[in-house]
């Protein structure tokens, strides 16, 4: 049991190791895909065995906390970890047939190396209980993420990557400053130890604690594209090749958010965050993001850019859940990360497929695509429906629960934000579906590039399953967050 129990650590190590092995291989995809697959299966075994169990920690190395680094394993970490592993594997599987057409065969090796590195660091961010360790992993993930943007060697990509890198470094600087404040206050880096040490001095040093909270919020906000700090995201996600966009939008922006969530819950605790005005700030930013992000998305002409702006709005939902400051709100934030991760990854994969097949980037060119590619367009519509909030699909469930949690906190007027945002979502996803299925064709005949349908199918099944199993998932997550 010990060995399976420490799977998270093993996953991170094996991913790093396999990443360093890739440069020596002639046909990297043949090695990478089985490795990722095997690790995904491993993580599912671990997940299914432990997700309902007690929370426990894995000690990395020979020292206990507060000196050593601990990995914390609860339903939250397991769920997000599973999401990351599964999506990465499916995206790589999908891109195996397509990636070289978009970027070129020679870059595929670099891409795979970076993806392995990226996933390892993302898992590190999710599982770690040590603030500084989290920071290091965040930096590694930033580098790797920039890397998978610039594998497509175009001017747009480099510019987007520079923008992302600079802003992101700013964010990590702020996070590091926050860590420094907490370390100066308490002398610990382990989240639970900091919490213990903060409780007695909470009222005395409240201003310092507030400053550190705001630092973390801004830092994680930049990296997770919280509304006014999102400016790097549309460029980066649009310029990147399809598989990279799927990973960036599905996973990379989620990791700092979960780091922030863990800081809120574990370091400060519900009592402390609810005493300050800090949560109102989070709610303000996220609420604005939910609406403005959708508005921006509506006015975009390129398909990928629209989906990217929609990510801004959806990250708003996640931070909105965190901003409610209750276990229910946090649980929905986590659930929405899962639901949105799957949906957005699928959407980006499909978008890149359409672009690949039609050779055009704007959403207007999708007219009549549904007749030529009914399978892809149907999945696209399903994802769109999930975003809009058609019942049973995950998007609806997060909205619904978010609303219930909002009513519970007594801020009924915030419901308006959720509803307006979902109407706006409809305003930009429905036209694509409608045009795709019901418009007369423009006469563009798609080329016959093969599309890997199996991973898309699996993603769709996952999407529906997440919706159907929302009850148990949410209750497990909420139990872990109290």
């Amino acid at each position: 049991m010990n060995i399976i129990g420490s799977t998270p650590l093993l996953l991170i190590l094996l991913l790093l190791l396999s990443s360093f092995t890739l440069p020596f291989l002639k046909n990297p995809i043949k090695f990478s895909l089985p490795v990722l697959g095997a690790l995904t299966i491993l993580s599912w075994i671990h997940g299914l065995l432990f997700i309902g169990g007690e929370e426990y920690t894995i000690q990395a190395g020979h020292f206990e906390a507060p000196f050593g680094i601990m990995l914390r394993v609860t339903a939250v970490e397991i769920a997000i970890g599973l999401l990351f592993m599964t999506i990465t594997t499916l995206v790589i599987w999908f891109s195996a047939s397509q990636f070289h057409r978009e970027v070129g065969k020679s870059q595929q090796k670099t891409f795979l190396i970076l993806v392995h590195l990226l996933v390892a660091s993302l898992l590190g961010i999710v599982y770690t209980q040590d603030l500084f360790n989290g920071y290091v992993f965040i930096e590694v993930s930033t580098l790797a993420a920039c890397g998978i943007i610039v594998v497509k060697n175009k001017a747009d990509n480099i510019k987007a990557a520079v923008k992302y890198l600079i802003l992101s470094s700013l964010g990590s600087g702020l996070i590091l400053m926050g860590i420094a404040y907490l370390y100066a206050l308490t002398g610990y880096l382990d989240m639970t130890f900091i919490h213990e040490a903060l409780i007695p001095i909470a009222s005395e040093k409240s201003r310092m604690i507030l400053i550190s909270m705001v630092l973390f919020m801004t830092g994680a906000g930049i990296k997770s594209a919280l509304f006014p700090l999102h400016i790097w995201l549309p460029d980066a996600h649009t310029a990147a090749p399809g598989a990279s966009s799927a990973l960036l939008s599905g996973l990379v922006i989620k990791a700092p958010a979960i780091y922030f969530l863990k800081i809120c819950v574990l370091v400060y605790g519900y009592e402390m965050i609810n005493q300050t005005a800090f949560l109102q700030l989070v709610l303000l930013f996220s609420g604005t993001g939910m609406i403005v992000g959708s508005l921006f998305a509506r006015s975009q002409k390129t398909l990928k850019r629209m989906i990217a702006y929609s990510s801004v709005a959806q990250m708003g939902y996640i931070f909105f859940g965190i901003g409610l400051g209750t276990p229910a709100g946090m649980a929905i934030a986590v659930y929405h990360m899962i639901g949105h991760g799957v949906t957005k990854a699928t959407l980006f994969l499909l978008a890149s497929t359409f672009i690949d097949k039609l050779g055009k980037k704007d959403s207007a060119s999708l007219k009549g695509v549904g007749r030529e590619m009914p399978f892809e367009m149907a999945i696209f519509s399903l994802c769109g429906f999930s975003m809009v909030g058609i019942p049973i699909l995950p998007g609806f469930i997060s909205k619904w629960n978010l609303a219930l949690a909002t009513i519970e906190t007594g801020q009924v007027w915030l419901l308006a934000i959720i509803l307006v945002s979902s109407v706006l979502n409809a305003a930009y996803y429905f036209p694509i579906t409608i045009n795709g299925f019901f418009s007369e064709e423009d006469g563009i005949k798609p080329n016959n590039n093969p599309v890997a349908k199996v991973p898309l199918g699996i993603l769709t099944v996952l999407l529906v399953m997440i919706g159907l199993l929302s009850g148990p998932i949410l209750s497990l997550i909420e139990k872990a967050l109290i």
Partner: protein, 140 residues
């Protein structure tokens, strides 16, 4: 570069290399360690490149990349085993705790230090080469 500089560098570089190796190897019992040592080693090699000294044995880009990867794998395996042992509380291998002042007494510690030194050195040289010739992608 003038011949004076080149000759001075020719004389200095071996000493720097030795100093770097010293810092690397003694990492676990005195100030220093893999990173610091690796940086010093890299500084020596970069100094050579600056002054334009040609040697028979050059750290080419390919070699550096592979070297970094191999060292990382080695480091990863060793450190990984140590991590996993700690995590599972199994302790198959009882690592010696080491005696102050003895280099080879601390189990895998010196090995790890040397590997880090190699990684850092080659990574820096690689970076320098990349910047020097520009127009090529980052492969770190």
């Amino acid at each position: 570069m003038t011949i004076i500089v080149q000759n001075v560098v020719r004389i200095i570089v071996p000493f720097i290399l030795i100093f770097g190796s010293y810092v690397t190897v003694y990492g676990h019992i005195s100030p220093g360690g893999g990173f610091a040592g690796g940086t010093i080693l890299a500084a020596a090699l970069i100094l050579e490149r600056f002054t334009g000294i040609k040697r028979e044995f050059v750290f080419s880009k390919e070699l550096c990349l592979k070297g970094v990867a191999v060292s990382l794998i080695g480091y990863g395996i060793l450190k990984g085993i140590a991590f996993m042992e700690g995590a599972l509380h199994i302790h198959i291998i009882s690592w010696p705790l080491g005696k102050p002042g003895e280099i080879l007494s601390a189990g895998i510690m010196p090995v790890l230090n040397i590997l880090i030194g190699l990684i850092v050195m080659m990574a820096f040289v690689l970076l320098f080469d990349l910047f020097n010739e520009d127009h090529s992608m980052e492969g770190q």
